[in-house]
């Protein structure tokens, strides 16, 4: 009787452990092969570094994603362009993506659209936790692995699981393989609506500079310059009156360290007076992105022409 009462729980625990390990290995490997399949590489923007050996690469958050139209930039500059902007991400992500690109080749020009989350202290949920999007690349890409390890010391243990890197990615993996999300705009994700509300104002007076992020910005620029890429740091237009003392501080530091001017259209009147060019106070709509891309193209042309 006593033996039986011990046997049942032992069998339960043994089955639980064995089935979990087996299931984890099996499902993890299937997801891994689906994630890196040809169809996925074609449709997954995170894997753009593997397939797009373009002349100009754009990095940044959702503002990069929605503001830089590679078609227009290519038309004007005569160079191919890919927008690797990624919504919600900050400099740690952009740096990992740049390193992944540089592992493959050296683009002619690198554009980094700078946002305050790239250099101010933010909650973990808006910061390193966001790097979970890189988890599928943990085993395959050493730069992504380094970035993921910024999330915490437990990441290396969590990644012992074969499923964990693909946590919450099942839908995207299946969609990319069987119902492709086709982006015909080389990474650019246009926003079509028009903002209808009055202009607001904001100030960064409560924010503090995050020196780890600033170091990552420096690394980003250095790595690109070391590979002879021309670097352009931009701040695209906002539909809000901004008092950006920290932006000015960072721009000054970059200028001093790299002799690099941050090209800011943050408060440019061509946009600030035109509500119809915005989808919301942070994002240009398609028409705004068109006008902005034209301005940026001229700037890139000039930059690439310099020695």
């Amino acid at each position: 009787m006593v033996k039986n009462s011990i046997n049942k729980p032992v069998i339960f625990i043994a089955v639980l452990i064995i089935m979990t390990i087996l299931g984890d290995t099996l499902i993890g490997n299937v997801l891994n092969s689906l994630y890196f399949s040809d169809a996925s590489i074609k449709n997954e923007r995170l894997l753009a570094y593997k397939q797009s050996q373009k002349d100009i690469i754009i990095f940044g958050s959702s503002r990069a994603e929605a503001h830089f139209d590679p078609m227009i930039i290519s038309q004007i500059t005569g160079m191919s362009c890919y927008n690797m902007g990624f919504s919600g991400q900050n400099i740690y992500f952009h740096k990992a993506m740049l390193e992944s690109v540089l592992e493959e080749y050296s683009p002619k020009a690198i554009v980094l659209e700078l946002l305050d989350i790239d250099f101010v202290k933010t909650d973990a949920i808006h910061d390193k936790e966001k790097l979970s999007v890189l988890l599928p690349l943990y085993a395959a890409n050493k730069h992504a692995k380094q970035a993921i390890q910024l999330r915490g010391r437990t990441e290396k243990y969590k990644n012992l699981s074969s499923i964990y890197p693909f946590n919450s990615a099942v839908y995207a993996i299946l969609r990319n393989n069987y119902y492709p999300f086709v982006n015909n705009y080389n990474g650019y994700i246009p926003i079509h609506n028009k903002w209808e509300y009055a202009i607001d104002s904001t100030s960064d007076s409560k924010s503090k500079i995050d020196e780890f992020k600033v170091k990552a910005i420096y690394d980003f620029i250095e790595k690109a310059q070391n590979r002879n890429c021309k670097v352009l740091i931009t701040v695209s237009p906002y539909y809000m009156i901004r008092r950006d003392s920290l932006f000015n501080e960072i721009s000054k530091r970059i200028r001093t360290r790299f002799d690099l001017e941050v090209f800011s259209l943050s408060q440019d009147r061509r946009f600030l007076d035109r509500r119809d060019l915005f989808a919301d106070p942070m994002h240009l709509n398609t028409e705004g992105a068109k006008q902005f891309s034209e301005i940026i193209s001229a700037k890139i042309l000039k930059l690439v022409a310099t020695k």
């Binding site: 729980p9 032992v10 339960f12 089955v15 089935m19 969590k158 693909f166």
Partner: protein, 408 residues
């Protein structure tokens, strides 16, 4: 001291002193700033300068839970229901027993204290039962609660931007988020204690299958609702002094329950609404609780209505202020605004909800017949729970996140 003295008046004096000390600490940490700010606003309106500043103290995690546990113990000693614990170590362990320290279940002294004096041996059966309960708790928390939170948070953070359908969906999701967050924690706590050989009280019994609000409170946060019943409602007179007094006692108890949850008018309104709804139910006669095995059109309709009432009250619980709660209610009835379509929430959250519903439905209406997770065969249950672990790994939110009830 309460136990040692023979004089009733002295006993009462010591009890009062203990209650004042315990609730005094809770008041300073949790309610002082709320009261002070409210007075400040009132004085401003009267153009009177109010010089007392807020304390801005960091709230100790789980203070409401361990304060209530301590007060419950003192009252039990006063009533002679338990003997005073003379060993400080056992008493300290009772107040700060780690599995349930931060978010309950709020244990009763006569249930938990004697367990600390028992000798506990490692038991494989406890290990199995504990692991099962913990896995289910993690499933509720990581797969359902945290996933739905990713929809609820942005919607309730920007109520003005979203359309009615989105806000309605976010409100329904919040009903499941808070249930799975809190019941998930309770399951993890009970499971952890079980592995060590301790038995903690059950805190939830499929509350959204309740057929009326009274029954809902017999199924939701049971350790708190029974605490309020024993230490607030009954001392107020319970149902011993006529219908009107019973309803008044009920209403007061739920107002206190509301304010227990947090120093904000939203919690007071939430508690008040539950009090009012129960008073209305009482006015319609004796409430019959549904037998858990009956499934018919009438019970389905009652479950739906009760869930709808409870969900509406959650709006006040979730909103950051009374004004925001009314914005949410107003906007639910409109079509303007942006719809929030998030495939991940719908697919992964929907999967979690389906598994949750299936298990709870069968346990409610066909107990003992959903034999996959409840199977007595260790191989079958081992496979079933490994499936849950894999689901957690596949679609759970595995980032750092907190439990909602930690703030209380």
């Amino acid at each position: 001291m309460i136990e040692r003295t023979d004089k009733a008046i002295k006993k009462r004096y010591y009890l009062l002193l203990s209650i004042i000390l315990n609730f005094g600490m809770l008041f300073i940490y949790k309610y002082f700033d709320f009261l002070n700010s409210s007075i400040h606003v009132l004085m401003d309106r009267l153009s009177v300068r109010w010089p007392v500043p807020n304390l801005d103290l960091l709230l100790p995690v789980g203070i409401s839970f361990f304060t209530f546990q301590a007060v419950g113990y003192t009252i039990d000693v006063y009533r002679g229901q338990v003997k005073a614990e003379k060993h400080f170590g056992y008493y300290a362990l009772f107040i700060s027993f780690f599995p349930q320290l931060v978010a309950g279940p709020i244990e009763r002294s006569k249930h938990l204290l004697p367990q600390f004096r028992e000798v506990h041996f490692f038991d494989f059966n406890n290990l199995e039962a504990g692991i099962k309960q913990m896995i289910w708790g993690f499933f509720m928390k990581l797969v359902v609660a945290d996933r739905l939170a990713m929809y609820v948070q942005p919607v309730y953070g920007n109520l003005e931007l979203h359309n009615g359908t989105t806000i309605l969906l976010a409100t329904i999701f919040f009903a499941f988020q808070i249930y799975c967050d809190f019941a998930g924690y309770s399951n993890i706590a009970i499971g952890t204690a079980r592995i060590m050989g301790f038995d903690l009280m059950n805190n939830f019994k499929r509350p959204y299958f309740a057929t009326n609000i009274t029954e809902f409170w017999h199924r939701w946060h049971i350790s708190l609702s029974t605490w309020f019943r024993d230490y607030v409602y009954i001392p107020l007179g319970g149902n011993r002094f006529g219908h009107t007094r019973t309803k008044f006692n009920l209403f007061v108890t739920f107002m206190v329950s509301g304010i227990w949850h947090g120093a904000n008018w939203t919690f007071l309104v939430w508690g008040g609404l539950h009090g009012v709804l129960q008073v209305i139910e009482k006015s319609f006669g004796k409430i019959k609780e549904s037998k858990s095995t009956v499934l018919n059109l009438s019970s389905v309709l009652k479950v739906f209505l009760t869930f709808s009432f409870v969900t509406v009250t959650w709006i006040f619980f979730r909103a950051s202020g009374i004004d925001q709660a009314f914005i949410a209610i107003n906007r639910i009835l409109t079509t303007s605004g942006i719809p929030f379509k998030d495939a991940n929430t719908f697919i992964y959250g929907g999967t979690g909800l389906l598994i949750l519903f299936t298990r709870e439905f069968f346990n409610e209406f066909y107990p003992g017949k959903f034999l996959i997770l409840e199977s007595k065969q260790p191989v079958v249950s081992g496979i079933a729970y490994s499936f849950l672990v894999l689901v957690i790994l596949l679609i759970g939110i595995l980032d750092q996140s907190q439990f909602i009830y930690f703030q209380f």
